[in-house]
Symmetry: C2
Subunit: 167 residues, 2 copies
Amino acid sequence: MELQEAKDRFIHTWGTLATQWGINRTMSQIHALLLLSPKSLNADEIMEELQISRGNVNMNLRDLMSWGLIYKQLLPGERKEYFQAEKDIWKAARQIGRERRRRELSPILETMEEIKKGVSDNSPESAEFLKVVNDIYAVAGFADNTLELVTKAEESWLTSTFMKLFK
Amino acid sequence: MELQEAKDRFIHTWGTLATQWGINRTMSQIHALLLLSPKSLNADEIMEELQISRGNVNMNLRDLMSWGLIYKQLLPGERKEYFQAEKDIWKAARQIGRERRRRELSPILETMEEIKKGVSDNSPESAEFLKVVNDIYAVAGFADNTLELVTKAEESWLTSTFMKLFK
DNA sequence: TTGAATTTTCAAAATATTCTGAAAGTTTTC
DNA sequence: GAAAACTTTCAGAATATTTTGAAAATTCAA
């Protein structure tokens, strides 16, 4: 079947791409599967579809929820929990941006500040070291601000106003 | 010694932060070491400083060079190869941006295009699937454009003009 | 309550990644 | 061109991460 093949390819590729930059393959595949699924799915359906264990499914669903990329849904009359992906991709992307700010940039900023505090003397060597630390702080701060700007913007704003920056 | 302690802390933390988002710890530590080193270092010095094997040092130096974050330096009268980090952190950051575009965003764009091509029929199900693929393509394209803008800009431009976007 | 249905946990197994160190390869010097 | 100095490679070891599956915990209906 043509379409199913394309979907499978999408799920598989999405998983592979994820590993390229430090994201768990299974997590990524579950996300892809939910993105493509018109209806929400329960753990058993995901296990069946991706041929993975219950524990694995459970763990990665929690992870995806912590990233704010999927939601738990309780269907009336159903005992099982169902999961659905955020289907607005722009919203999902902003959510990823927010989380990466929190998980990756904030720690850098905090650490650089702490390290700066720890260097009290003012020898030339210390000054040189502090320059590096300060520069990294500035770059991380710039990235943080930019991501904040972008994650708070609406899609329409992004694709119009912001784009005008490009010649 | 106060300063040395701060440097060690920096190197150690830099390595730990890197693992958080899929970068090899040792590579990150070598980079940090070279960033802080006023003079360029050879493989033996790095081995000694970080207590790691020659093979490990060699492999990660290559990797860092492929990221454009360090340079090989041939000192006159010296047989050994010396390495030095790009000390302009803004330049280094732009370099990372360029590489991530190439390594992470380009593959997404390419894959989405190929997948689109593969879906020929125009059933409602295909349309729904294509919507997801197209949306991801658009988001990745936006990220790619933004990174291009930012990586091509000068620090001065970034910290002045671009910043005016923030209220 | 009880017990069936479902979810969560977690120790052990499987897999993937990173690191070592010695051998092979390369370059330079004499 | 041979030997010394240095760099690269790579198979196996060490480490880290992911996955499994069954037991424990939780939830819910009756």
